[in-house]
Amino acid sequence: MSVTVKKTIPVVIVAVVAFIVMMDYFLLTPPVDVAGKSWTSTTVTNLQNWGVILTAFALGFGAVNLFYFHSKHISRRTPGQWMYSLWLLIVIVIFTGIGVFTGPTSDQYSWLYNASYFALSATVYSSLGFYMTSGLYRALRFKNVESGIFLVVGFIVLARNAPAFAVYFPVLRVWGSFISDVLTTSAQRGIMIGGALGAISLGIRTMTGRETGFLGKLTEEERGGGIE
């Protein structure tokens, strides 16, 4: 009974919801109202809105986990760490407080966002450019056929991506087009088809209870069964 409530019913819910969504897309299932919408259409509209609401609730997980983790450092006064942890939690409180009480589009919150989060986000993303430079200096080496292909193609595309080079050496545009339109598109298409088959099989496995990763930790009792 407890396995039914804790594991089987959630898996059944996954299957039923997924089935209704797919049914709405492929079929017009009666009863149909005067506007021509079937019951699945109204149900899926509400389910999608519920999905948005549940995702909104889930956005708080990051802050909760950080509070849980960093409050331990603060209470234990972990040397070299606890001050940073305290500052992190203070920043969460400041952002949440100003954002919730004045609104996310208020002048105060926008000021705070532009002064800190935006600058930090943009800079953190861009700082990886330095490591890319180090990477291309150390890793783009002609060691075997595969690394040779990587080197030659990488070299041509680096040259092609420099705007002035593409103007002064038009042949780079021809080679660049071949690399992007033929080599890259075809390989990526093959990867995409393989990935699509994987996604479909993962979806079916999840709907039939063979893939239970989303349930989180399973007890010994729960590990025993799936949907028969």
Binding site: Y25, S41, V44, T45, N46, Q48, N49, G51, V52, T55, A56, L59, G103, P104, T105, S110, Y113, N114, Y117, F118, A119, L120, S121, A122, V124, Y125, S126, F130, T133, S134, L136, Y137, R138, L140, R141, F142, K143, L151, G154, F155, L158, A159, N161, A162, P163, A164, F165, A166, V167, Y168, R173, S180, D181, T184, T185, Q188, R189, M192
Partner: protein
């Protein structure tokens, strides 16, 4: 071995990263201070993008997803601004914006501060353009908005009722839009719109993504599911076509010189590696 000095090949192969980064920073800064005015070619994808907007009939409604984060703003922001300027210049095009990125509304505000629609183009919020806010859930949000926009959200990004805005008259679902544009730093968004709007409703779709994401989007373009995939790095080209040179074109000189430096680094690394190998110093 400990008694031998390092050969020239060893030194060339192990240039400290501080030197590499220092030279890179210098090459970044010099063309910023002394612009060289190097030429910028306009690619076929940017032309196709530009022409698609040019071909929009008067009264068309465009949905834009401001789906990029602050990290992608330096690259995608200039492209977003250039395209908005194009839409406002064309006139009589309604632009409805939403965000599938949690930073989208702030970045939209930033873009609007740069574009100044009322002052420069006479465009009015709620009549010519609007932002309906960030909707959580990425593909769930796309599907929800595409199926029934008013059932998902009844307010704009500031919390005001959509009913008061003339631009929202007759806007019901994905079929109400003539074109979908997405700017994003996430593959979930750029590919999600193909699955949730193009596949389900047949919406014409163009996207501008980070340059590193372009390879994954090429199969969709090749199959005709996306009209044009551009990268934010091509913002300078778009600005040239639209006639509003701004941040995008400024980066052209810097990108040319830094990429030249990259080619030099790759060449040095390989010369050192091959020199060491053929002088018997290593494999």
């Amino acid at each position: 071995m400990s008694g031998q000095g390092k050969s020239i090949w060893d030194k060339l192969e192990n240039i400290p990263r501080e030197v590499l980064y220092g030279i890179l920073l210098v090459v970044f800064v010099i063309p910023m201070i002394y612009p060289l005015g190097l030429p910028v070619p306009i690619s076929a994808n940017v032309r196709k993008w530009y022409q698609t907007i040019e071909d929009l009939p008067p009264g068309s409604v465009v949905m834009i997803d401001f789906g990029y984060s602050g990290g992608g703003e330096p690259e995608l922001g200039p492209m977003a601004v250039a395209v908005y300027r194009h839409l406002f210049t064309k006139g009589d095009i309604k632009v409805i914006c939403m965000s599938t990125s949690i930073e989208g509304t702030q970045l939209w505000d930033k873009a609007m501060a740069e574009i100044r629609p009322e002052q420069r183009f006479g465009a009015q919020y709620g009549v010519d353009y609007i932002h309906i806010g960030y909707i959580a859930g990425t593909e769930v949000a796309m599907a929800a908005i595409g199926k029934d926009l008013r059932a998902t959200t009844s307010t704009d990004y500031k919390g005001n009722s959509l009913d008061q805005y003339p631009i929202m008259d007759g806007i019901v679902d994905a079929h109400s839009f003539d074109l979908l544009i997405c700017y994003t730093t996430g593959g979930d968004q750029s590919e999600g719109w193909v699955r949730q709007w193009y596949t389900v409703y047949g919406s014409p779709y163009m996207c501008s993504v980070l340059a590193m994401m372009v390879p994954t989007m090429l199969p969709y373009q090749n199959a005709g599911q996306i009209i044009s995939v551009t990268s934010g790095a091509q913002a300078g080209e778009m600005e040239g076509l639209v006639g509003f040179p701004a941040r995008g074109i400024k980066s052209a000189d810097v990108i040319t010189l830094t990429h030249l430096l990259c080619l030099v680094y790759v060449a040095i690394g390989n010369i050192a590696y091959l020199g060491k190998r053929f002088s018997g110093g290593g494999k």
